[in-house]
């Protein structure tokens, strides 16, 4: 939690700020660079509004937790950030989702490129039924042929950063399905970071894991936050408090649409919430 108090100068984390177009995402009042920004974002499934009018900045090299009761649109909002909702027939988005100041829903944007820059880790560990090596190498292989030695080093580097290397270095050719749930989830993290994303989305990454494996993933997230911007959806209040720097609390309004109730530093949200509903939720009075 200590580092959340430190304001990282925007010029340090994002050297490409000079670009005129990126003025949009410049610094906020807190002096932090917004890696991604939601500008009046609504997500609709045909005529049903799942998420309504969310304005929110995700800061570079910070962990932001999206919390809220079931069905409030947390996952929908998360999946809007790498256009995974595109896969659902009838889903559409209004407003703008800015990555480094550029709208990822703009017509000239390549969705493949968006997903390479914004990686994702899912609720249940979902390794491919391939070897451990092939799981991690899957992403890099998509982006053209590379030399065997280069691929080897990407795989090792990714597994090391996912804190899994020591456990699997002697069985890279074995099936990933034989790993434990916690190991599988770290493998999925390694697979996601192998394509060098800038943002990592995590959709309840620990909900299928036991407490020990959960703790490992949380430690890993803190380490990864030094290099990546992490956005996590979680049902677990303690986890949100433990791991995140910022927290966004979502709730459904009277039309069943998810709306942003409160957003701020995690410490403030958990110790001194401004909104009554946030306080009720965090103290367990509902949800």
């Amino acid at each position: 939690m200590a580092e959340s108090a430190m304001a990282i100068p925007a010029s340090l984390t994002l050297p490409s700020l000079a670009n005129a177009r990126t003025v949009v995402r410049t610094t906020t009042e807190s002096g932090l660079a917004a890696k991604m920004r939601l500008d009046k974002v609504s997500v609709l499934y045909r005529n049903f509004v799942a998420v309504a009018d969310v304005r929110l900045s995700f800061y570079a090299n910070k962990i932001t937790a999206i919390i809220g009761p079931s069905g409030c649109g947390k996952s929908t909002l998360l999946r809007a950030l790498n256009r995974m909702n595109d896969l659902i027939p009838g889903a559409r988005l209004e407003g703008r989702v800015l990555l480094d100041g550029e709208d990822i829903y703009a017509p000239n944007v390549d969705v493949v490129e968006v997903r390479r820059r914004v990686g994702m880790v899912f609720q249940r560990p979902n390794p491919f039924p391939k070897s451990i090596y092939d799981n991690v190498a899957y992403g890099p292989r998509l982006y053209g042929h590379m030399r065997r030695s280069d691929l080897d080093s990407i795989v090792e580097y990714s597994l090391r950063r996912a804190a899994l290397w020591d456990e699997v270095k002697d069985k890279l050719r074995q099936s990933a399905m034989a790993l434990s749930g916690g190991q599988q989830q770290r493998l999925c993290i390694a697979r996601a970071i192998a394509v060098e994303p800038e943002v990592i989305l995590m959709d309840e990454p620990c909900s299928a894991l036991d407490p020990v494996a959960t703790l490992k993933i949380e430690e890993l997230m803190r380490q990864l936050a030094r290099e990546y911007t992490i956005i996590i959806v979680t049902h677990n209040m303690q986890q949100a408090a433990r791991v995140s720097d910022y927290a966004a609390f979502l709730m459904t309004d009277e039309n069943c649409a998810g709306t942003l109730v409160e957003y701020g530093e995690t410490r403030q949200i958990f110790t001194n919430p401004r909104d009554r509903r946030t306080e009720d939720y965090i103290t367990g009075r509902f949800g």
Binding site: L87, V112, G119, F122, N126, L142, M177, R191
Partner: protein, 279 residues
């Protein structure tokens, strides 16, 4: 009193279901037993490796029919497997589109179609212009295999968790790569099981071959000429006045049954192996 009535009616119903099960399974056991008893005596290495000879020379063997059946199965698989799997991918990917629903309805109808109708269709389409051939027989069998392959492959693809495809797409993989490199491989053992069952289903088909492959007494591997097959030879020998031919017919029946059984057992083995390997 009530209890006794309940207990005795329970025993009666249990007995009834047991009896119907036995009655239901009896024909299968009977057929297998009868075919084995009558067929086994005529099977020898000679019979398997020799080609057709007149009864005056001992009747010969069925090597030409074994080769013919192998070629017909191979051709039928070659035509139906790629088409069937790609169709299944489309249907599993777009289940509720107009084309997806149409394909599913179409395969249901096709799988219920009498095989002789399929034979007649191929006769009109291929044979009437180009003559009887192994190729025409392969096409007829492929049409019969197609609906089975499409439906089993589709079911197997639907069993693969959607999150697996999403994981691939989230890495920036396009849909076609996701389908070929993640979705299909994840369902592969199940698909293989379906393919074996499809082959087993047409291994004994006779009527569509009468119009198409025609049958032959010589060993042939030419795809544009009539070709022998086990069921066709069985049919011919069974109605032959010669006792030797009749015995050979039973032997062929045993070989076909063994072939189908083998395919079914392999399909089962692959299925159990799969459940151990995967989720």
């Amino acid at each position: 009193m009530h209890q006794r009535v309940r207990r005795s009616s329970n025993i009666f119903m249990l007995g009834l279901t047991g009896l119907t099960t036995v009655v239901g399974i009896a024909p299968l056991v009977w057929i297998l037993f009868d075919v084995f008893v009558r067929g086994a005596s005529a099977i020898s290495i000679r019979f398997l490796t020799d080609t057709f000879k007149p009864t005056s020379l001992g009747g010969g063997g069925i090597w030409h029919a074994l080769v013919g059946t192998g070629i017909l199965m191979g051709l039928a698989s070659l035509f139906s497997v790629p088409l069937g799997i790609l169709t299944a991918l489309y249907v599993a990917r777009n289940p509720n589109t107009l084309l997806g629903l149409a394909v599913r309805f179409g395969t249901d109808v096709l799988s219920g179609l009498p095989s002789i109708v399929v034979g007649l269709f191929v006769y009109a389409l291929v044979v009437s212009g180009h003559g009887y051939s192994a190729l025409a027989g392969g096409v007829a069998l492929a049409i019969l295999m197609l609906p089975i392959i499409v439906r089993t492959t589709e079911e197997m693809l639907k069993l693969v968790p959607k999150s697996l495809r999403e994981a691939s797409l989230a890495l920036g993989a396009p849909e076609w790569k996701t389908s070929l490199q993640v979705w299909l491989p994840a369902a592969m053992t199940g698909i293989l099981t379906g393919l074996m069952l499809a082959v087993a289903r047409v291994a004994g088909e006779t009527s569509p071959l009468i119009f198409t492959a025609l049958g032959s007494n010589v060993l042939s591997t030419a795809l544009d000429k009539p070709i022998a097959s086990l069921p066709l030879v069985l049919f011919k020998y069974a109605v032959d006045p010669s006792k030797v031919r009749n015995a050979q017919a039973w032997a062929i029946a045993l070989i076909i049954v063994a072939l189908v059984l083998l395919l079914n057992i392999s399909a089962r083995l692959i299925a159990t192996w799969r459940s151990k390997m995967m989720y």
